[in-house]
């Protein structure tokens, strides 16, 4: 087993472990602890991206998710009543719903892995410079790219609208 393989198993294991500790931590029901483990999950995920030579994605993963989104999460969590969250019981119904959803998704992925044929993989050109990535985003994937940006704009306008108290 070579060093990248070893690192892959290390990062994959750590990602799964910290992701598990986000939702089912036996030592603490504290939302801040969950959020911090989610940050760790993001960091280990970006390690996996580095192993795939997707350096841009790895850096953006840390910059956007660990650096910005999770800080806002923490900001909101700290303004909530943490004690109440700690006391809240898990309902059997929501547990069942969650388990069904995750199980279905897992099944879907496993099926697609076994049905798919392993090939050489595409687009090794994206590796390294961000130039190719930008070019692809603005040529082959222009429509999805624009749709996503419109979606983000809609979400932003919606958030502003909802937070306004009196509409004129």
């Amino acid at each position: 087993m070579s060093a990248p393989d070893l690192l892959f198993y290390l990062f994959a294991g750590l990602t799964l472990l910290s992701a598990l500790l986000v939702v089912a931590n036996p030592f603490s029901r504290n939302p801040v602890t969950s959020a911090m483990f989610l940050v760790l999950t993001m960091v280990f995920l970006s390690g996996l991206f580095v192993l795939l030579h997707a350096f841009f994605l790895a850096a953006v993963q840390i910059l956007v998710y660990a650096g910005a989104v999770m800080v806002l999460f923490l900001f909101v969590i700290m303004l909530l009543d943490v004690k109440e969250e700690e006391r809240r019981r898990i309902k059997a119904f929501s547990l069942g719903l969650g388990a069904t959803g995750v199980g279905g998704l897992f099944l879907l992925i496993v099926i697609s892995i076994f049905k798919g044929e392993s090939g050489a993989g595409g687009y090794p050109r994206i590796e390294g410079s961000t130039f190719e990535l930008g070019r692809l985003l603005f040529t082959n994937y222009l429509l999805p790219f624009e749709i996503v940006s419109v979606l983000l704009l809609v979400a932003m306008v919606g958030a502003i609208l909802l937070s306004k108290k009196d509409l004129k």
């Binding site: 060093a3 840390i62 910059l63 660990a66 650096g67 800080v71 700290m78």
Partner: protein, 356 residues
């Protein structure tokens, strides 16, 4: 991956970290001396180890400069009682100072602090996405402060933590967008390429009005990102006692303190690399990679000199300008700098399209 690479990289890392720690310790001294100068005082001038002070002429001179003050400060921090209040959340209380300290050190990894020394490039990791990496790591620095504020479990530190999370997110956006024009002109996210572009076509501060505006926004956002006056809202002594580190003592407090200076050094080096040509100087052929050992060392010295200049700017501003109010700070971030940086990007794009 061969052994040469591992050994040389380790040597570079150790040297960079040791140099950084030394600079952090002495920038505290510079801070005290500069503040003393501005307020018409003398500053630290009498700490001396027993034998050194007895050396004629040189001994008293060094003592008056306060060269030995950082040693005494460090000793004081280590020997003081490390007190953990009973009401804190222990794990996070212990974790926070470390989290505050680490990101500033990681940023140094992608900074090209010299051209070449022998056959080695003077940068620890020459990443293709260098600038994104450093912004990503800088953005993690906020966790130390937020966790410290929350873990202290008392009012004022908590306000400090909350303020800091909002402030740093806001200014991160302005900071990130302010440098986009520079990279539009370079066409590459690698920091070594940025320096190369400046060696060929002039430093970015003076190259065009757009990049100058970039620099101004970046400089101001840097003050907010490192929690320095006039934007030191998270610790703001007059309102929040000591802000996020009110409950901390001894070495744990010192780590926050050192983390702040390390972050200042990291941001200063970023500014030098992005806008002031890194290790280059535009005359005597100093903008070409070094061929001899002496030139290599000279390049490192040039880089350190430029960086120290920005450190002094940071310190100078702290003692000259009063603190902003918190709403003014947020107002300025979102309503002034973010639109300005956006307009700057559009302007640069139009200008480049026009020239092309």
């Amino acid at each position: 991956m061969d052994w040469d690479f591992i050994i040389i990289s380790s040597v570079k890392i150790v040297c960079a970290v040791v140099a950084l720690l030394t600079m952090v310790a002495y920038s505290v001294l510079v801070e005290r001396k500069v503040s003393a100068f501005i307020q018409d005082r003398v500053g630290p001038n009498r700490t001396a180890p027993p034998l050194v002070a007895a050396i004629p002429v040189i001994g008293p001179f060094l003592v008056r400069l306060g060269i030995f003050q950082p040693l005494a400060d460090g000793l004081k921090f280590i020997l003081k009682e490390d007190f953990t209040p009973s009401h804190v959340r222990k794990i996070y209380f212990w974790l926070a100072p470390a989290v505050a300290m680490v990101p500033a050190f990681l940023t140094i990894a992608v900074i090209p602090f010299g051209s070449t020394l022998g056959k080695q490039n003077m940068v620890i990791a020459d990443l293709n996405v260098g600038i994104l990496y450093s912004f990503g790591i800088v953005s993690l620095a906020v966790y130390g402060i937020v966790l410290a504020g929350w873990a202290s479990n008392s009012k004022y530190p908590f306000y400090g933590g909350i303020r800091s999370s909002a402030q740093m997110i806001s200014y991160e956006i302005a900071m990130g967008m302010s440098v986009v024009p520079v990279f539009m002109m370079v066409g590459h996210l690698n920091l070594s390429e940025v320096i190369q572009a400046q060696a060929d076509g002039g430093w970015f501060v003076w190259r065009s009005p757009m990049t100058f505006l970039s620099f101004v926004i970046f400089l101001i956002a840097a003050f907010a990102e490192t929690n320095r006056l006039p934007f030191d809202m998270p610790e703001c002594e007059t309102e929040l006692v000591g802000g996020y580190h009110t409950e901390y003592s001894s070495m744990k407090f010192a780590l926050f303190f050192l983390g702040e200076y390390a972050a200042m050094i990291a941001v200063s080096s970023l500014m030098v690399v992005l806008f002031f040509g890194g290790w280059t100087l535009p005359f005597f052929g100093l903008n070409q990679p070094a061929e001899s050992l002496g030139m290599g060392l000279l390049h490192i010295a040039i880089f350190l000199g430029k960086m120290l200049f920005f450190m002094v700017v940071f310190i100078w501003v702290r003692w000259m300008i009063p603190r902003f109010r918190y709403d003014q700070l947020m107002d300025m971030g979102w309503k002034r700098f973010v639109p300005l940086a956006l307009a700057n990007i559009v302007l640069t794009a139009v200008w480049m399209w026009w020239m092309a």
